[in-house]
Symmetry: D4
Subunit: 249 residues, 8 copies
C-alpha cells in the first residue's frame, strides 16, 4: 500500500500540472485519510490497515445474515472465518457452502483456499482441563486459519502438573503460547514461568460458584507474577488474533 503522504503529494502534483481538476482532487482528498478504506468493502480495508482480514462474529446473527456475508465474501474470493457458530447453523452453512467445513468443538466455520504459511514460528495452544477445550479449539482453528503453524497440548492443568513438564520439548518449540484455563486460572503463570516467549492467557467460563463465570480465572491471570497478556473470558479468537500479530513480526 502506498503511504498516504505519497498519495496526497501525487494528487497535488496532478492538480498543479493540470491533469487533475481541483474538483476531482477535492473529492479524492475529502475523505483522506479514510477514503482509501471506504472505496472498498470493510473487510478489504482491515486487510490493508491491520494485515488481517475481516472475520464474522456469529453470535447474535441469524443464519440468513451469516449466509449473506459468506456469500458476498466468496463472490470476491475472500477466505471465510466465522466464529461462535452453533452446531445447527454450522451444519446448515456446511450444506450451503460445500467448499467449507464446520468444526463443532471450536464452533467455527471456515472456507480456506489460501494455504500459505504466514506466521514465522509455531503457535502452541494449551488447555488446562478437558472442559476448556472448546475455547482452546477456537484459538487453534483461528490461528491455523490465519496461516500459522499451530499445535495443541490439552489437559495439562495444575492438579497434575507433571503432565505439563512431560511436554517441555513441545513447550520450548513454540514462538507464542496460548493457554486457556478456567477454575483458578493458574496454568498460564506456570507456563510463563518456564518458557521465554510471549504467553497469552485466556480465562474460560468453566467452573461454578465462586468461579463467577470465569472472573476468578481472569483476575488470577491479571495478577500473574509471571507476566502474561490477558484476554476476555472465553475469547479464544482474540488470543489467536493477537498471537498472529506477534507471529508475523
Amino acid at each position: 500500500m502506498k503511504t498516504m503522504d505519497d498519495r496526497i503529494l501525487a494528487l497535488l502534483t496532478g492538480v498543479a500540472g493540470g491533469t487533475v481538476s481541483p474538483e476531482d482532487a477535492f473529492e479524492e482528498l475529502k475523505d483522506i485519510p479514510f477514503l482509501d478504506l471506504e472505496h472498498t468493502k470493510i473487510d478489504i480495508h482491515r486487510q490493508i490497515r491491520k494485515g488481517i482480514q475481516e472475520v464474522i462474529f456469529g453470535e447474535g446473527k441469524t443464519f440468513e445474515q451469516i449466509c449473506d456475508i459468506v456469500g458476498s465474501m466468496r463472490a470476491k474470493e475472500i477466505d471465510v472465518l466465522a466464529t461462535r457458530i452453533d452446531p445447527d447453523k454450522g451444519k446448515r452453512l456446511a450444506g450451503a457452502f460445500p467448499e467449507g467445513s464446520y468444526e463443532e468443538k471450536a464452533r467455527c466455520f471456515t472456507i480456506k483456499k489460501d494455504m500459505s504459511v504466514r506466521g514465522k514460528g509455531l503457535i502452541l495452544v494449551i488447555s488446562a482441563g478437558t472442559s476448556d477445550i472448546p475455547v482452546a479449539e477456537e484459538a487453534y482453528v483461528v490461528s491455523s486459519f490465519f496461516g500459522n503453524e499451530t499445535e495443541k497440548l490439552y489437559d495439562v492443568g495444575v492438579a497434575g502438573i507433571h503432565r505439563l513438564f512431560h511436554n517441555l520439548d513441545l513447550l520450548k518449540k513454540a514462538r507464542v503460547v496460548i493457554v486457556a484455563a478456567g477454575m483458578e486460572g493458574a496454568l498460564p503463570s506456570i507456563v510463563a514461568g518456564i518458557v521465554g516467549v510471549p504467553v497469552i492467557a485466556v480465562p474460560t467460563s468453566i467452573g461454578y460458584g465462586a468461579s463467577l463465570g470465569g472472573l476468578s480465572a481472569l483476575l488470577a491471570m491479571l495478577n500473574s507474577c509471571s507476566t502474561v497478556a490477558t484476554f476476555n473470558i472465553d475469547n479464544g479468537f482474540g488470543a489467536a488474533y493477537f498471537a498472529t500479530l506477534i507471529n508475523r513480526l
Copy 2:
C-alpha cells in the same frame, strides 16, 4: 471431662438419695449444658470444649487492654499468644513481660512455658513470595505455640516453580501443609497436586490493582481443582489453628 449425661444422672441420683436438695440441684442444672463452662474463665472453657486455649486478637485493642489480659492470664499461669500486635505495642509488651518475646515479622507476642509437643506430625508453612512472609510467619508462630513441630519453606512461588520441586523431600515429610500466597494465588493448587496430605490455603493481601486486596487470590483458591481448604485473606492464625486441630487427630 465427664460427659454431660453422666453429670446429670449423678445429680439426680443424689436428689433421689436425699444427698442433694432439689434447690441445689436446680441451681446446678439450670445452666446445663453451659454451667461447666461458666464456672471457669472463658479461656479455660475453650480449653475444655475445643482443646485449644484462648488467644488474644490484638487488632483494635489498646496496649493497656492487652496488658490487662496478659496479666490476668499469667496470674493463672496460662501461656499467652497475642496476634496482630504492631511493633510499638510488641516492644512495650516485651518490656512489661520479660518472660515473653515478640516476633516482629509475625506480629505475635508469646509467653510459652509448656514446651510439650502435642501435634502428631510436621506442619509445613510455605510462602509463595517474599511479601507473603508476614502471613506465613503468623502461621508459623501460631503452629509452634500450639505444640506442633513446624518448618517453613519460603519464596517458592509459581514464577519459578523449580524452587518448589527442589524441595519435594520436605514437602513429603509434612502431615499438614499451609500455603500463603497473594497475587494470582496459584501455589496451593500446585502443592495440593503433589502431596497426599491436607493443604490449607491462605490468600494474602499482597498485590495491587486487580488483586483487589487479596480477593483475586482468595477466589483462585476457592476454585482450585486440587481441592484445598481456604481461609480468609491474611488469616495465618486461622490456618495454623485449623492445622493444629488436624495434627492432633
Copy 3:
C-alpha cells in the same frame, strides 16, 4: 510405592553394573519424576501421589463420554465415583452398568467393590436446611465411597438451633464435621464453637436476592470467628475429599 530416590539410585547402579544400558536408563529417567505416572493411566497416578483415586466430574460431559470412562475404569477393576450426574444420565448409567447404583439426591453414580474402611473415625455431614440436602448428600456419598464411616444430621439450622443442641452426642462422636449451609451460612460457626475437631464449611447456592447465588454464605464462612475451613459454593465433593485426607491421618 518406592520413593523416587530409591528408583533412581537402583537404575544408576544397574547402569554401572552393566545390567542396564545407558539408552534404556535414559528412557526411564527422562520422565522421572513423572514417568511412573505416564506409563500408567491417570487414575492410577493419582492413587499413588494422593492416595485417592481419580473421580469423574460429570458436569459438561456427555453420556457417551462418561460411559467410556466408566467402562475403561471397570476394565481395570477400579471402583467408580461419578459426581454431578443428572437423573437422566444417572438412570442410563445404572442401566448400562447394573453393578453400579445411582443416588438421585446426591447426583452421584458409584460402582463400589472395595468395602474396606480406611478412615480412622466418623465423618459427620450436617445440613442447615432441607434445601441444602443435595450438597450434603454429595458429601455423604463421596465420604462413604472413600471408605469413611459417615453419618448425616440434616435440617438443624440456626432458625431453630435447639435441633442442633439436641444432637450434641452425635456431634461429639465425629472426627471430622462437614456443614452445608446456604442463606446466611451461620451454622458452621455454631458447630465449630461446640466441637473440638476440624469443621469443614460448604456454602450452598440456596437463597434468593442478596444471597447472590451462595456468595453471602461463602463470605460468612470465610469470616467465621470460630475458624472453619471453607470450600467453593455447592462443593460437597471437595469437602468430603478433604475430610477423607484428614480422616486417613
Copy 4:
C-alpha cells in the same frame, strides 16, 4: 397536633366569617401541608411529624458548626443528641456545654433534661464481640436518650454461644432486641430464633479481608432465615431510632 384537615377547614371558616382576610389565609395555605413545619425550626417539625426530635449527625461537621446547632437548640430548651462525635470534639463540646456529657465509646454527646420514660418496654442491645461494642454503645445511648429503658449484653457471639444461652432470662424480658455483629454476622439469626419480639440487626465494619468492611455481615443478616430487620453497616443510631418507633407503639 391538630390534623391538617382541621386546620384548613378552620381557616376557611374564618375567611367565610370575615375574621381572616383572603390574603392572610393565602399566606397560611400556600405552604400547606408543610407550612406548619416551616414556621418553626426543622427540629420541631420532625417532632411533630415523626414524634422524635431532630438529631445532630456529627460526621463531616466542624466543631464550630456543631456548637452553633447545640447552642440554638439549647436556647429553645430542646434536649441535644449528637452522634459520630470524635473524642477531640466531644471533649471540647463537654467544655462548652457543661450541662452535657460525652460518651467516648459511643462517640455521642448529649444534653438530656427530659427524663420521662416514653418507651413501653425494655430495649436490649447485644454485641457479638468486644470490637462491636462502639456500635452497640451508640445504639444504647440513642435508645436511652429517646426515653427507653435500655440494657446491654455484650460479647456473646457464636464462637461461644453458651454465653448467650446463659442470659436467656434477660433476652426474654426485652420488648425489642438490637444485635450488633461484625465478621460473619450470625448472632442476630440465633437471637431471632429464640425470642418472640422484633430483632434489629446492625452489621459492623469489624473484620478484615473478605469481611469487605462489613458487607459480609450485612449480607448474612439480609439472608437470615430467622427474619431480622437489617440496617446499614455501623448504623447503631438507626437501629435505636427504629427500635424507639416500635417501643412507643
Copy 5:
C-alpha cells in the same frame, strides 16, 4: 407456657418426693431447655417460642412434598400458609385441599380457619409500581393470614409522587407500613419522611441493567436517610412476618 425454671423445679421436687424416678427425670431433663420443643412437632414449637406458627416456603419443594406437609398440618387442624407457590402447583393444591384458596398474584396458598384479629393496628402495604405488586401481595396475604387488619396502596412511586400525597389519610392510619419498591428504591425514604410509625422496606427485583436484580434498590434502602428497616430482595414474607411481630406488641 410454663417457664423452663418452673418445669425443672417441679420435676426435681417429683424426684425428691419419689413420684418421679431418676431415670425418667433424666430423660425429661436431657433435652432441656429444648425438650419442650422436641416433644412436639416443629411447627408447634415455633408457635410457643415465637408466637407465630410454622410456614411452608414452597420454592424448591415438589408438589408431593408440599401436599404431605399441608396434609399433616391439617390433620392437626393447624392453619396453613405456603409461600412461593407457582400457579401450576397452586391450582393443584386448591384441588387437593378444597377448603384452601390460592392467590396467584401473591403466589400463596392458604387454609385459614382462625379468623381472630391478633394485631393491634393497621398494617399498610404500599407498592411503588405496578410491577412490584406481586411482592406487595405476598406481604398483604401473609399479614392478613397472621391476623392483622391489612390494607394496600399500590402504584404510588416517586415518578408521580402526588399519588402518594393524595393518600396521606390512609398513610396516617397505619400502625406499621411496608413499602415494596424496585428500580431506584426511593419510595420507602419518602414514606418514612412523612409517617411516625415503623416503615419496613422491601426491595424488589424489578428493573434491568444496573438494577442488578434488585441490589440497587436494596442499597438505596440501606442508605435511606429516613431510617427504614430493610429486608432481602422480594422478601414480602419476611416484611409481613416482622410487621406482625411489631403489631402484636
Copy 6:
C-alpha cells in the same frame, strides 16, 4: 396551566365573596398542590407536568393488560407508544389495532396521529456495532414518536473509527446526539470529543465475559473524559426521552 398560587387565591376570593362554600373550597384545597393532577387521568397529568405524555413499558405486562391500556388511551384519542414489546405481542397488537404499527427491531408498538414536529433540531442516533442496533432503534422510534426530526448512523464503532469520521457532516448537523455502545463503550467519548452539543450515552448489554452484561460499558461512559450523560444499560427509551426534553428547549 394557571399557577398554583393563582388558583388558591381565586378560590379564597370566591369563599370570601360567598360564591364558594368553605366545604367546597376545602375539597378543592385538600389536594393542592396535587389536585390539578388528580382531576384528570394519569397520562394527562404527566402531559401537564412534564409536557410529555404517558408511555407504556411493556416488559412484564400481559397482552391483555397492554390491550386494555391501549384501548382506553385510544378512546381518549391519545397517541400510543408501547416499548419492550416482544414480536409475538407486537404482531397481536398490530392485529388488534390496525391503525398502529409494530417495529420489530425496536420492539415498539405505536399509534401516532399527531404528526407535528415539536423538537427544534435534529436528534442523531448512533450505534457502535450492529448488535447495538436494537437499543439504538428503540431510541430512534421513541425520538420520532415524540415529534423530533431524527436520523441514524449505525456501525461506526472504534474498531474502525474512520467510519465515524467519514460522517462528520451528519454529526455536525445534530442538536442532540444519542450513542448506543456495548463492549468497551468507547464511542460516546469519541463523539463527545468532536461535537459541541449534548451527547447522551446508552450502554448496551452486548458482549460476553468481562462485559458483565453491559456494566463495563456503563462504567466506561460514567468515566468519560469527554463529559457525556449516561443512562441505564439498554435504556434507549430514557435516552430519547431525555433528548426530547433538551430538544424542546
Copy 7:
C-alpha cells in the same frame, strides 16, 4: 470557523492557480482534518470544537504546574477555571494571581473577565443534604463561570421532602436542573417527577457502609423511573458542563 470543505477547496484552487505550491499545500493538507486545531493551543482548539474553553483539573497536579498553566492562559487573556484545588493551593493561587478568586467550598479557582451571559435560561443547582454541598458548589461555580444564570437550593432531601415542595416556584423557573445527592440518591427522581426540563443527577460520595463510596446513590440514579441523566460520583463539574451545553441550545 470556516468548514473543512471550504478550506480544502480554497487550497486546491490556489494550487491550480499557481498561487500555492504543491509542497506548501501538502504541508497544509497533511494534518487535515486536524490541522485547524493544531495551529493553535489546545485550549483554543476546544473553544472552536466544543464552544467551551479548556478547564484545569487540579487533582494530581502540583502548585507549580497549575501556576504555569494559569500563567500561560492569562498571557493569552483567556479566563481561568481550575477545579479540585485544595485550600492550601487555592490560597497560594489567589496570592499569585490577585485578579482571581478561590472558592473553598467548591474547591475552584477562577479568573473571570468575560461577564457576558451566554446561557439562555436559569440553571438551578440542588443539594439533598448539607454534606452534598461541596459537589453542588462545584457545579454552581462552574455553571456561573460558563456564563449561565445560576441559582442554588440546598438541603431539601427526601427525609423532609416538604422543604422541596416549599420551593416549587424556584424549581419551575429553571431551564436545567442539577441535583447532587449521596446516601440513597433519591432526590433527582423526585425532582424529575415534578419539573418538565432536563434533570442532571450527580451522586456524591457522602454516606458510609453500604453507600459504597457513592455507588449506591449512582445506581439509584441510573435506575430512576423518572428519567434523569447521570454523571460520575462527585462530578459536579461534568454536570455543570453538560448543563451549559444544553443551556446554550
Copy 8:
C-alpha cells in the same frame, strides 16, 4: 544452554564408562530438570530460562533490603532495574550507588552498563492523559533498560482524538505499542483500530468515583472490540516486559 536430554545422556554415559560414580550421578540427577537453575543464583536462572534478567520490585521492601540486593547484583556485574521506588528511597539509592540513576516520574532506579540494543524494532509508549504518565514512564524506562529502542507519545486521549491522528507516522513506525489509559480506558481500542502491530493495554488507577481505582478502564480494555492484550492496573513494568519478549522474536 544444553538441552536436558543431552545432559542426562552424557551423565549416564559417564556412569556406564566408569568416569562418574552412581552416587555422584544421583546427586546430579536428583534435581533435574531444575538442577541447572539451582547451581546458579536466581537472577541468572531467569536469564537462562526467560532470556530476561531478574528485576527488583521495590514496593514493600526496605531501603536496606534493596541496597543489599543491588549490592550483590553489582558484585556480579549484573545490571540493575528496581521499580516502584519512591523518591526518598530513590535519592538514597542514587547516593549509595553513584553509577546508577533514579527516574522520579517512573519511580525506577537503574544501573545500566550493557547498552546493546536487543529488541528488533521500535516500542512506542502512549499515554492517554497527563495523569497516566507515571505508568507510561515506568513502561518507557523498563523497555529502554531491556535494550529496546523506545519512544513516547503522551496526552493523546480520546477527548481530543485529533492529537493522536496527528501522530500517525510515529504510530506506524512502531513494532509494538503500549498504551496506558485511565478513566474510560478507550484509547487502546482506538490505537489498535489503526495499527497492524500488537497493542498492549495498561489501565491506570487514574480517575475517581466509578473509575473504581482503575477497574473501569481495565474492564473496557478486556472488552475492546479491537483485540488488545491487557495487563493489571498500573502495571507498566509488565507491559514493557511483555513487549520486550515480543520485540526479541
